[in-house]
Amino acid sequence: MTQVAFFVDVKSCTGCRTGEIACKVENGGEIGPRWRKVRTVEGDDGGPFMYHVSMACNHCEVPVCADACPSGAIQKRSDGIVVVDQTKCIGARLCAWACPYDAPQFSNETGKMEKCNFCSHRIDAGTGGPACAEACPTKALQWGTLDEVAKKQGATASFGPLPDAEITRPAVRFIPLKLVRG
């Protein structure tokens, strides 16, 4: 099976966090763990700039979290989705150290790691894709196969302050914000 992937058009992202909330509403998420997080990047490059990067687990082709997990609780499925089996998690939190994207989220309530599962229950049931992507009001966040999203013009797996994509080969592609300011 092909690898699933997220696609984030940064120049169409308003930072509204609808994806974050859609994720919580879909997955019954509580306060604390944030499977998807919108990060705001600010800086100065001949004038101030700001943009938002919506990111969850990138279901990496090289899942360093799974490699680091001592109890084998993290597995990569044949469709590329990286899932945590909480019954196997012992809360060592090494996955969180290993992940360059802060995807594994430790729940103080359950004492287990949890993270984005690409709404695998929806994928498996054939009822749609990740709730975050389907809820995005501007279509800045989409999903597809890695082959599809990698073909989009200008797509890159890393830009600006994002980690070197070679660390994990994330199944995500971004269209960065490129501004020519007058």
Partner: protein, 302 residues
Amino acid sequence: MVPRDWALVVFTVLTQAAVGAFLTLLILRNLTATAETPLRSCARWAHATVLAVLALGMVAALFHLSEPFEAVRAVVNVRSSWLSREVIFGGLFSLRLGALLLMEWRETRWSRVTHWLGWTAAATAVTFLVCQIKIYLLPAQPVWNSLATPLAFAGTALRLGVLGVAVGLVCCRVDETSREQKSVHSDGTTFATLRGLALLGLVGLVAELVVMALQLAPLADAMPAAALASARRLTEDYAGVLVTRLLLLVVAAACIVVVIVGKVSGQTHKLPAMTIVAFVVVLVSEVCGRFLFYASRVTVGI
């Protein structure tokens, strides 16, 4: 850093001390194989102490887990997880050390089997240390993913190992000499050993300065961003701990120099106390250092 990371501070410092002390003891024994070396009479107690420290460290590690009663699962992913490997080699080291201790208890003189056990235990201990280091060599954590981590971990083993053994040495001597009213200084072999250990300890302290330099280097070249953030944490958020650690290192170095020189205000019999002070100061400084190690972690990216 979360409170649970303190378990790792205790775990790494204690187990590294155990590894260092065990290797030091083994090397000492073999350097002076024929002579009636000072520690020979206390060897069993020394190994017992090392095992106790090791066990204490391993138990402390459980508190890092949110499911300590399921800790045994930590060995499942030996195929790729350095933590699984660490647990396995930590366990193996404990077992071999335990077996060695059993042998020693039965027969003070080392048999061929005891020697074999000693050397395999040493190899396991080194592997254990390597696994510990490898856990932290994560590209996602630039402040860890450098020479600083092996230097820091091996340095801890060296400093606490040799100084720990030095403390054992003086305690052992004090115990024996109290009856004979002889100073440590008057026993040539013991003093030479103590000086040697102290010298190694001093080397260890220098290694730590290199570690700190590596951690703070990003302040100069501002790259990479996460490493810079780590360095900023050290110099801004935890400046107090950092300075304390530096001061402790200086104090420890001064104590060690005194031990090497062999005199305190012309009074040589203060050397055991000075050795113990050096060890305690280094121990506290190791805890500070390891706290900083965990506290300065800043993941790459955003």
